[in-house]
Amino acid sequence: MRIVIAGGKHQADFLIKMFLADKHDITVINKDEVFSNYISTENDIPVFQSDPSKAYALSDAAIDHSDILIALSDKDTENYVICKLAKKLFNVKKCVCIVSNPKNVRIFKKMGIDSVISSTYLLGQTVKTELNVEKWFRTLSIEDEKIVMTEIVVEDNSDIVNKRLMDIVFPRNINISCVFRDPEVIIPNGHTIIKAMDKLIIISKPEEQDEIVRFIHKTS
């Protein structure tokens, strides 16, 4: 894949190494002279030392029809403009950027940036997940929290232990995608029998999560 990395320092350096290891074509555009020199001496890739929020800089770097552009500058508005120009003038397929103001995640997406990442936002998500560990389950949100993946352990006194999935009357909309029984990973069907201490991976809507957790933990 053709990947463009615009701006950034440590993150850029890290991503460049990671993508090169996976044999992608990388182009770097960075304002910083020292950093640009460092990257071009360390790696055998094209490095353009200029302001990636300028149309001519993107043109010089020949980013037309690249697969992904990643904007890593520390200014949110700069990243926004870089992504917009890349899409509009150079038909870059996907634009990803970081933002320092977590409120911008929602706004940038609304205005057409494909993927927006805020470290504060992720931090908040991680803390939420950590807090849930106490409750004996873990959560991963996908698609802006429209889908949640719940990882939950079946305790040995739960009602569903030693039953076949087809014999259990589940609440609506429950979908057990995977059963993890160390070291085995089971993709379940109706005949799969739930054992105590099985770890279930369940996909659901966020509003149904509480009901699912209650159901799995139910004891008679």
């Binding site: 929020s53 300028k54 149309a55 001519y56 200014k75 949110d76 508005t77 700069e78 926004y80 403009v81 917009k84 120009l85 509009k88 003038l89 103001n101 409120k103 706004i107 609304k110 205005m111």
Partner: protein
């Protein structure tokens, strides 16, 4: 001219002067800038509001009652900031009159298919020059 509500973001020389003029014309003007010192550029005849804050933050714009504003003027010193706020005003708040100063002509392409109106000091200066030397435009 009917009395309008106008928000000016960026109280530099241009922003401050536009705000003062519009205020003199009798419009309700709010000027937003993150630097409190910048408001000193406003003339004594300015009778609008000064709001300290970052114009790229939606909370700041909403506090300035952006939802009931018909006209926004963007004159910060950063093209990127101006473009971002212009897009926010156009795409998220449907503001009919948006005026933006842009130093980089190339970036005007981001206003295609919108009603956002760019002002290019470069073009204005060039045209003024050509006019002075008497060359056809």
């Amino acid at each position: 001219m009917k009395k309008h509500k106008i928000i000016v973001v960026g109280c530099g020389r241009l922003g401050a002067t536009i705000a003062t003029k519009m205020s003199e014309y009798g419009h309700d003007v709010i000027v937003i800038d993150s630097d409190p010192d910048s408001f000193r550029k406003l003339n004594d005849s300015f009778s609008g509001y000064e709001q300290i804050g970052d114009g790229t933050d939606l909370t700041v714009l909403e506090n300035a009652n952006i939802k009931n504003t018909k006209t926004v003027v963007l004159t910060t010193d950063s093209d990127n900031t101006n473009i971002f706020i212009a897009h926010v005003c156009f795409y998220l708040y449907d503001i009919p009159n948006i005026y933006v100063r842009l130093t980089d002509n190339d970036k005007g392409t981001l206003f295609e298919n919108t009603t956002i109106k760019p002002i290019y000091p470069f073009k204005l200066s060039l045209n003024a020059f050509l006019e002075m030397v008497g060359e056809p435009l």
